[in-house]
C-alpha cells in the first residue's frame, strides 16, 4: 500500500472514490501517527469538509479508546516471588547481600595473603612447597576470583597473574597448591573453563568457554549454557571456529557477565596453563570427555571444595 501523500491532495484510489471522498489510507496514516504537524493541518481541513471520512475517523478513535480502558490487575509480585523462591532456594534481603559481599571480600583477601605468603616462603626456602607429585593438578587449579560483579575480582585476578609471573618456573606448583580439599561453603563461586585439548592432551588454544557458577556444574549444564550463550551472541559462536580467540568469545558474552573479570581470569589461566603445558599433560579427574568435544577445566576458589569427579558427567 502506498503511503498517503497530503501534498498530492488525497491518497491512492482517489479517482475510484469520487469527488470529495477521503480514502481509508488517509485515516490510517492519521491513526498510525504517520502524519506530521505540517501535513495534519491540511488533512484536518479536508476532513472537516467530508462528514463521512471524519465520521469514520471519530468512530475508529472511539473503538481504539475502548481498548485503552483500564483493567483491574491483580498483584502478582508476592505469589510469583514465593513460587520462584521455592524453586531457586530463597531470596536475599539487602542485609544478606551485604553480608555475602563482605564474605567474598574477606575470602579474596585471605587468598591474596596466602599467595603472597607462599611466594615469600618459596623465596626463603626454595623447593619446600614443590607439590609436583600431587595428582589432579588441573582439577585443583585455583584462583582467587571471588567477586563476579565488581572490580574486586578483576583486581585480584590481575594480582594473581602478577604473582604467578614472579614465580617463574615454580608457577605450576602454585597452581597446584589449591588442589587441597577444603570444607565446602554454600554459595562458593566456581569458574569453569572449557579448554581445547589436542590428541596428546596438550592445550591447543584459548579457552572456548568460561562459566561463573555458584552451583555444582555438570557437563550437561555446561553444554546447555554454552548453547544458550552461542544462540544469543554470534561472536561467541564465531570464536568456536578455527582462528577464534578469547577476545572474540568475551565480546559475545551477555553483558550481565562481567567481561573485564572474565578477561582477567582468561589471561591468568592462559598464562598459567601455557607454563603448565611444558610439563606432562594434565591428568585431571575432571578430564572426562564431554559433549562439547573436549574437557572442562575447573578452577575452584581457594577455601572451597573442588568439583567432585561425578559432578562432571555426560549429559543424560
Amino acid at each position: 500500500m502506498k503511503p498517503f501523500d497530503p501534498a498530492n491532495n488525497i491518497g491512492p484510489g482517489r479517482d475510484e472514490l469520487g469527488p470529495g471522498r477521503v480514502p481509508d489510507d488517509m485515516i490510517d496514516a492519521i491513526l498510525d501517527g504517520e502524519v506530521g504537524p505540517a501535513d495534519s493541518k491540511a488533512l484536518f481541513e479536508q476532513l472537516r469538509s467530508n462528514p463521512d471520512a471524519s465520521g469514520d475517523l471519530n468512530a475508529t478513535r472511539r473503538a481504539i479508546g475502548a481498548l485503552r480502558q483500564p483493567v483491574d490487575t491483580p498483584d502478582f509480585a508476592d505469589r510469583v516471588l514465593e513460587t520462584v523462591g521455592t524453586k531457586r532456594g530463597g531470596w536475599l534481603s539487602g542485609r544478606d547481600r551485604r553480608r555475602i559481599g563482605f564474605g567474598r571480600i574477606a575470602a579474596a583477601a585471605a587468598v591474596v595473603a596466602l599467595i603472597g605468603g607462599m611466594y615469600a616462603f618459596e623465596r626463603a626456602r626454595p623447593g619446600t612447597l614443590d607439590l609436583s607429585e600431587r595428582p589432579n593438578a588441573v582439577a585443583g587449579l585455583a584462583t582467587q576470583v571471588s567477586d563476579s560483579s565488581g572490580q574486586l575480582g578483576s583486581q585480584l585476578a590481575s594480582r594473581t597473574q602478577q604473582e604467578v609471573q614472579c614465580l617463574g618456573d615454580s608457577a605450576f606448583s602454585v597452581v597446584k597448591l589449591f588442589g587441597e580439599r577444603a570444607e565446602a561453603e554454600r554459595g562458593s563461586a566456581r569458574v569453569v573453563f572449557e579448554w581445547p585439548f589436542g590428541d596428546e592432551g596438550e592445550i591447543t588454544g584459548s579457552p572456548r568457554m568460561i562459566v561463573l557458577s555458584d552451583q555444582p556444574v555438570s557437563a550437561a549444564s555446561l553444554a546447555e549454557q554454552f548453547s544458550s550463550i552461542t544462540q544469543q551472541a554470534g561472536a561467541a559462536e564465531q570464536s568456536l571456529r578455527p582462528g577464534g580467540t578469547l577476545e572474540r568469545w568475551i565480546e559475545g558474552l551477555p553483558k550481565i557477565v562481567d567481561r573485564d573479570l572474565i578477561a582477567s581470569i582468561g589471561e591468568f589461566a592462559n598464562s598459567a596453563f601455557l607454563q603448565a603445558s611444558n610439563r606432562p599433560a594434565p591428568s585431571a579427574g575432571v578430564s572426562r570427555q564431554n559433549d562439547l568435544g573436549s574437557m572442562p577445566v575447573v578452577i575452584t576458589l581457594p577455601g572451597f571444595e573442588p568439583l567432585d569427579q561425578d559432578e562432571i558427567r555426560e549429559p543424560e
Binding site: 481509508d24 491513526l31 478513535r61 481498548l67 509480585a77 516471588l81 513460587t83 536475599l92 544458550s228
Partner: protein, 200 residues
C-alpha cells in the same frame, strides 16, 4: 513503555543476584501491561491470570539468560505468548461476558454504583466481542499498537512479520472493529471512550 532502560537493567542484575525487592519491582513494573494484554487476547481473566503468573515465574527463573541488548518487555511478552498459545489449545476463548453473565445479582433495585458497574461490565463485554471479531493476528497487532503502544518496527520484530504485513493487519483490524461498534453499539456508548478531539 515502562521504566528507564538503565534502571530496568539494574533491577534485573539485582534480581539475578537474588534481590527480592528488585524482582518485586520488576514484576510490578510490567504486570499491568501484560495482564491487560493477556486479558484482551484470551478474553478470560482466569486464563490471563494463570498465563501472567506463569510467565513471570519462568522469566525470573531464567533471568540470568536475559540479554540486555534486547527489551525486557519483548522477552516477557514472548514467553507469555507461548504460554497463551499452549493455553488456547486447551481452552476455547471465553470472554468476560460469559463469566459476568453467570454471576447473578440479588438486589431489588439497582442503585447508582451498581448502574455504573453495569455500564463497565457492558463496556468490557463490548470490547471483548469486538476483539473476538478479529483474526488472532489482527487482535494481537491491534492490542500491541493501540493498547501497549509498541511501534510498528517492534511489533514486526516480535511477530516475525514484515512491517507492511503488520500495518495491513492493523488497518484491517481497525476497520473491522469500527464496523462492529457502528453496527452493534450506540453513539452514546461509543462517545464515552473518546478522549480526543472529535472533528465535527
Amino acid at each position: 513503555m515502562g521504566m528507564d532502560k538503565a534502571a530496568e537493567v539494574r533491577l534485573i542484575e539485582l534480581a539475578v543476584a537474588g534481590d527480592k525487592g528488585a524482582a518485586s519491582d520488576l514484576i510490578r513494573a510490567h504486570q499491568n501491561s501484560l495482564f491487560a494484554y493477556m486479558l484482551r487476547m484470551s478474553g478470560n481473566p482466569d486464563i490471563a491470570e494463570d498465563i501472567v503468573q506463569d510467565a513471570f515465574v519462568r522469566v525470573l527463573l531464567n533471568l540470568h539468560r536475559f540479554d540486555p541488548r534486547f527489551r525486557f518487555s519483548t522477552w516477557l511478552f514472548t514467553i507469555a505468548k507461548r504460554l497463551y498459545v499452549n493455553a488456547m489449545q486447551k481452552h476455547k476463548p471465553l470472554y468476560d461476558s460469559d463469566i459476568v453473565g453467570s454471576r447473578k445479582g440479588d438486589w431489588d433495585e439497582p442503585n447508582e454504583p451498581t448502574l455504573a458497574k453495569e455500564r463497565d461490565t457492558h463496556a468490557r463485554d463490548a470490547i471483548g466481542r469486538a476483539l473476538q471479531e478479529l483474526s488472532p493476528e489482527q487482535r494481537e497487532i491491534i492490542l500491541l499498537f493501540h493498547q501497549q503502544e509498541w511501534p510498528i518496527a517492534l511489533i514486526a520484530e516480535y511477530t516475525d512479520m514484515p512491517e507492511g504485513t503488520v500495518k495491513s493487519h492493523l488497518h484491517r483490524g481497525r476497520r473491522r472493529m469500527r464496523k462492529y461498534f457502528e453496527e452493534h453499539e450506540s453513539e452514546e456508548f461509543l462517545a464515552r471512550f473518546s478522549d480526543e478531539v472529535v472533528i465535527q
